[in-house]
């Protein structure tokens, strides 16, 4: 009699365990597939590469930006000349930001020339993104490289890119 009762209790106990485990898996799967894929980090990396390729190619600075040690007037149309388009019918406000800063190797404290395109509100969010990563803020990427102009003047070029698109990448 005792065995029979304990057998039934054991079955119920196991069934409850399986149901609880299944419930847990349900919740995990729902949360996993319910959250969008966050691709902004890759996107900001790709944007940085595209900007870098436009600013300098094969180690030489684009003459549309700096020619013979002088800033070219064409640099105003940076996005057009680099074939970038930060506006989209999908978004009311621009979701990208790109900043290129040129430093002459002789004077690394003062920037020689700057290009800022896109939504500049993102810069403050990039400053907040330090060691801790906040998914709800814009995703930023920073990089620098060395290049020379036609007259072999040497420059260090720093690039900062930021991508927002929070609604499409974060739940």
């Amino acid at each position: 009699m005792l065995n029979k009762k304990s057998g039934k209790l054991l079955s119920l106990y196991w069934f409850a365990i399986i149901t609880l485990t299944a419930g847990g898996v349900f919740v995990m799967v729902y949360l996993f597939y319910g959250a969008p894929y966050d691709v902004r980090e890759i996107e900001s990396h790709i944007l940085m590469n595209q900007v870098a390729d436009c600013v300098s190619y094969l180690g030489r600075i684009n003459p549309d930006l700096i020619s013979g040690g002088v800033v070219s007037s064409n640099s105003e149309n940076f996005l057009e000349s680099c074939h970038l388009n930060f506006s989209s019918i999908e978004w009311e406000r621009e979701q990208f930001y790109a900043e290129v800063t040129f430093y002459q190797l002789a004077d690394l404290d003062n920037s020689f020339f700057e290009i800022k395109k896109g939504n500049s509100d993102f810069v403050s969010e990039c400053n907040i993104q330090g060691k801790e990563k906040y998914n709800n803020l814009v995703q930023c990427r920073e990089g620098s490289f060395y290049s020379v102009d036609e007259l072999n003047n040497q420059y260090i070029i720093k690039i900062l890119t930021a991508v927002r698109k929070t609604e499409k990448n974060v739940k």
């Binding site: 029979k4 057998g7 039934k8 079955s11 196991w14 069934f15 399986i18 149901t19 299944a22 898996v25 349900f26 799967v29 729902y30 597939y33 969008p36 894929y37 691709v39 890759i42 996107e43 790709i46 944007l47 590469n49 595209q50 057009e80 074939h83 970038l84 388009n85 930060f86 989209s88 019918i89 999908e90 978004w91 979701q95 990208f96 499409k168």
Partner: protein, 130 residues
């Protein structure tokens, strides 16, 4: 004695059947969620947008979209209507009730079309700059 054994057997069978039902519902749920139109549409749209962003003219890319083709076939969506590019926005549609859009930042002239059947690929052609 015989009755007791039969009772134990019935109890065990009921227990096993209940477990199987719970597990099969769970597996079905995971399969449906993982292969749902909403998940695949988002994944393909973002994939295509990132591929375009990281490309250079004149590139031609072939993207395997077997899962998307199979789902579109089930949902009676023509293959040539799965992916569309309007302006700088990629749209992926795998069922009549859903669809997903994601934009890219490069100013490329892009053509996108399905591969020749039975290949379940989409061909992305970067023709040049706009």
């Amino acid at each position: 004695m015989r009755n007791k054994r039969a009772e134990v057997l019935v109890n065990n069978v009921i227990f096993l059947v209940l477990n199987l039902i719970v597990l099969s519902i769970l597996i079905g749920f995971i399969y449906i969620k993982g292969n749902s139109a909403i998940v695949l549409e988002q994944s393909y749209a973002k994939n295509i947008a990132l591929l375009i962003d990281s490309s250079k003219p004149v590139m031609e890319m072939k993207l395997n979209m077997e899962q998307a083709f199979n789902l579109a076939e089930r949902n009676k969506i023509p293959f040539w209507e799965i992916v569309k590019i309007e302006g700088n926005v990629v749209s992926v549609k795998l069922s009549s009730r859903s669809g997903y859009q994601y934009s890219f930042f490069t100013n490329f002239d892009v053509t996108i079309y399905p591969d020749i059947p039975p290949n379940k690929n989409y061909i992305i052609k970067i023709n040049g700059y706009k």
